[in-house]
Amino acid sequence: MVIIKNNLLFLILIFGYFLASTVVLINANEEPEQQVQSQQEVAVDGFFSRGGHTNNWAVLVCTSRFWFNYRHMANTLSIYRTVKRLGIPDSNIILMLADDVACNPRNVFPATVFNNAGRYLDLYGDNVEVDYRGYEVTVENFIRRISPDTPRSKRLLSDDRSNILVYMTGHGGNEFLKFQDAEEISSFDLADAFEQMWEKRRYNEILFMVDTCQANTMYSQIYSPNILATGSSELGENSYSHHMDIDIGVAVIDRFTYYNLEFLEKIDMQSKSTLKDLFESYDPGLIHSTPGVRSDLFRRPLDKVLVTDFFGSVQNVELTEQKYNLSFTAATTSTYQQDTLNSSSSSQVTNITID
């Protein structure tokens, strides 16, 4: 009896789906003049096409250890500070940091990390939540953290509406990045990890940013869709540090990250700057290496992608003074209103919108 009941339910569902789809198609065909959208609808459409994400995550990895790699810790903490400032909460940030510089006995300014010789800003100031520290920064922990096969409690809790910023810095070479003098991650490992995430619908879009020697080789093997990648230097090029603090006695920041930060510091949560603006700000003369951008896997045009889509967590909410009346078509053209249309499984809804 139970089996028959289930089957009946299923049949009814399928019937309902066909009914709904025919209604939609007929509606679309019946009213061609509606293609000329009203001004209201353009505004609404623009609002929805801004990005397909509902939440933001950041994975920030410093793969270096030791005092003389101070700058890598400073790089990572600088990006950490930026994404926090732009609204990504600590619960959505995975920070992997050797974390052996702030309280290093060699540090003239104990319990601080600076990214500038002027020492304007203590990156270690307050509320730094390091998720993986010291010897826990390993390739395995990194891969497991982003891999969808690990238990829920130990993984990045992203979903298919998540935009993820993956930032890595350290010492690397042709298609590898060294983790703490002990092991290395290859560009293939990284590409496969991203593909697993894609297969299990763990992201909407990824921005992969890497600051290391020959960094552009790190993203060369990525093959999963919706991934935008940028690196600090080409194959055969070194990435250099920007400047050193002569009291601390070590270099405090790398060039690529420095010029990224110079751009990002001018961004706030309301900023309309796009990633195109960011990438165009890269000056090989200043960075002393040739930064690369890989956008062939990415589906949106870069001038439509806000910097805050990745570096911030800006809720897609816009308060308006007047009321917008949404027509049925405007809603269907948007990808993000599917669930209101049909309460059946989401795959069926996707079929409708693609049609």
Partner: protein, 622 residues
């Protein structure tokens, strides 16, 4: 395949092999002269600027000269006050120790003293070492750096006033590793006593009070030797340690780089020779001079300063020596030295492990140029090679008519002879080890100094060689008798004895083979341990050993004997013109106290081969 084909193929193979062997036999004797020439030529290429490379910092953690230094005029003033005070101190160890201890305590540094008495060569050296441990405020105390100064400078006379004053004024800068400030007494004996006590290595010949104050494992040491009270024109870097050991090249590179960045101190290697400013790498002759000096120190296994004793404990160290010159260089003093030392220690502070990235085997033609082991080792192997390649040639000297006819080689006697000469060498070693004891005995017998030992040595060597030669002669007569007997039996049973029994090879040939092979082995083994000693040994020995053989002419025989006497250790000492008593005293001290292996090497490995050659040149030719 048929058997006939098989046979013809084998025959062709044998033919080929024979042709090959014949050409080899023909060429090897000429080849060895060529190799010798290449080896010597190569040695002279080493100093040329095109051959050697620029030094570079291998260890990323060092970051030399990239940090602010805080040593400034207040510290310079402090140092000057210390200098003036030290100058007024008497030479008594106790007063001096008390002063240094109180000054260190005033600076808040924990201090300790160590009384020691070293018993070497029947003499007692005693003194007091003072040291302080400057604990790093946030360090864990597991690692330490040593900043040391001997009380008496390396010339053995001048008091190291500026060095001690500089050290006292330096000890207050920022650091993360403990710094041990060490002022040693009694020359190398004091350093050795302190090191043994620090590493808990009690020795019967060193009596010392235990150290109650300690720090962690010592990572590196800088020894400051600034004699006198006046300014200096040149900073000399001494780096050779006991038995030719060297500090990691990164340590020297760091200091040189820091001095270069400060730009106010000209440097030199050792205390003589070319003075280097920035971007100056000297010419060929200055490089050659530096190499020869280094190789001399290394070959003698002589430590060029207190730093050389640290190597035994896997601590990299150098001595910085203030040198005055007539030339009108801008003089430098506490400010420049203090800054350089502080910067060096800030770099060493950054180390996470022992210096290990850069070379341990190298030659420095100039402070910023190096020759790595891969570039300097080939000549010594080339020089050792003719020794061993000569040996098959001698064995083939009397070509055998067919492969089935072999000349009997009687190796037993030659081996015994070689063993006898080595046993003699060991006897010499014990005599020289107790040289000063024997001298005392001689003075009881109213014989002049070192006359007794020399007489004994000459007597023993003559006796040994004569006994061996006379045995050889005896063997020849018995051999002849045996040969006659064999001939007779051959005649009788000629139809059953198709092989012709040849006369056995002369004993001297076999002995020469063994001696040459042994010498070649010693040189090639030694070249990886102590390249300089290997090269000098090869250069001295190679020509006489290759050419000498028993000769018909009496005068040539005596000439050969004379040359062998000259290249024997006493002959070499006479030739070099050093004061034999002083030289032996310092070398034996180093042997007993520091483990310098030059005396056992010369007595037990070098001398026996020369002795074997005195037998060879006197041997009967047949």
């Amino acid at each position: 395949m048929s058997t006939s084909e098989n046979i013809s193929a084998t025959r062709a193979r044998l033919q080929r092999r024979r042709v090959l062997l014949r050409t080899l036999k023909l060429w090897i004797p000429h080849l060895r002269y060529l190799l010798f020439a290449i080896g010597v030529g190569w040695l002279f290429i080493l100093p040329s600027n095109e051959y050697n490379k620029y030094t570079y910092i291998s260890e990323n953690a060092l970051l030399p000269g990239q940090v602010n230094t805080y040593y400034s005029w207040p510290q310079v003033h402090e140092a000057s006050v210390y200098r003036d005070n030290i100058e007024t101190l008497s030479t008594s160890s106790i007063e001096r120790t008390a002063y240094i201890e109180s000054e260190l305590r005033k600076a808040g540094i924990k201090t300790g003293t160590q009384n020691f008495t070293v018993n070497a060569l029947g003499k007692e050296i005693s003194g007091v070492n003072v040291f302080g441990v400057l604990s790093a405020p946030r360090g864990d105390g597991t690692e330490a750096l040593v900043l040391s100064a001997p009380w008496i400078s390396k010339d053995g006379k001048t008091v190291n006033i500026n060095g001690v004053a500089a050290i006292l004024s330096i000890g207050k800068f920022f650091q993360s590793t403990d710094i041990i400030i060490l002022i040693t007494d009694g020359g190398e004996a004091g350093v050795q006593a302190w090191l043994e006590a620090y590493h808990d290595n009690p020795r019967s010949d060193i009596l010392s009070s235990p150290l109650f104050l300690r720090s962690g494992a010592i990572q590196a040491a800088v020894n400051l030797d600034l004699p006198g009270t006046k300014d200096y024109q040149v900073l000399g870097i001494f780096y050779e340690g006991v038995n030719g050991q060297l500090p990691n090249l990164d340590l020297i590179n760091t200091i040189v780089r820091i001095v270069r960045i400060s730009g106010r101190i000209p440097i030199t290697l050792h205390d003589t020779g070319h003075v280097y400013w920035a971007n100056d790498h000297g010419d060929y002759y200055s490089s050659l001079y530096n190499l020869i000096l280094t190789m001399k120190y290394q070959a003698l296994g002589h430590s060029t300063g207190g730093h050389g004793l640290f190597f035994r404990y896997k601590i990299d160290a150098v001595t910085l020596y203030g040198h005055r010159m007539e030339a009108s260089h801008q003089p430098f003093m506490f400010l420049e030295i203090g800054t350089a030392i502080e910067s060096t220690f800030r770099s060493l502070n950054n180390l996470l492990e022992h210096l290990h990235q850069s070379f341990f085997f190298y030659l420095l033609p100039s402070p910023e140029k190096y020759i790595s082991i891969g570039s300097y080792l080939p000549p010594s192997i080339l020089l050792a090679h003719p020794q061993s390649s000569k040996e098959p040639k001698i064995l083939q000297k009397f070509p055998t008519p067919s492969p089935f006819n072999r000349r009997p080689r009687r190796i037993l006697f030659s081996l015994t002879a070689l063993i006898a000469t080595h046993a003699t060498g060991i006897i010499f070693f014990f005599m020289i080890k107790n040289y000063f004891l024997l001298n005392k005995l001689a003075s009881f017998l109213f014989i002049q100094d070192h006359f007794l030992v020399l007489a004994l040595i000459i007597f023993i060597s003559i006796k040994v060689s004569f006994v061996l030669v006379s045995i050889m002669e005896k063997r020849i007569t018995t051999n002849n008798q045996i040969a006659h007997r064999i001939e007779k039996t051959n005649d009788m049973n000629s139809q059953y004895q198709p092989q012709q029994q040849l006369e056995p090879a002369a004993d001297w040939i076999i002995l020469k083979c063994f001696t040459l092979a042994f010498t070649g082995m010693i040189i090639s083994c030694l070249s990886v341990l102590n390249f300089s000693l290997a090269v000098f040994t090869a250069l001295i020995v190679i020509i006489p050993f290759s050419l000498f053989r028993p000769h018909v002419s009496k005068t040539i025989r005596y000439l050969q004997l004379f040359v062998l006497c000259l290249i024997s250790p006493p002959g070499l000492l006479l030739l070099s013109g050093v004061d034999m008593g002083n030289f032996l005293r310092s070398t034996l001290m180093e042997y007993q106290l520091l483990g310098n292996y030059i005396v056992p090497f010369v007595c037990c490995l070098y001398w026996p081969n020369v002795l074997a050659y005195t037998v060879i040149v006197q041997a009967p030719i047949k």
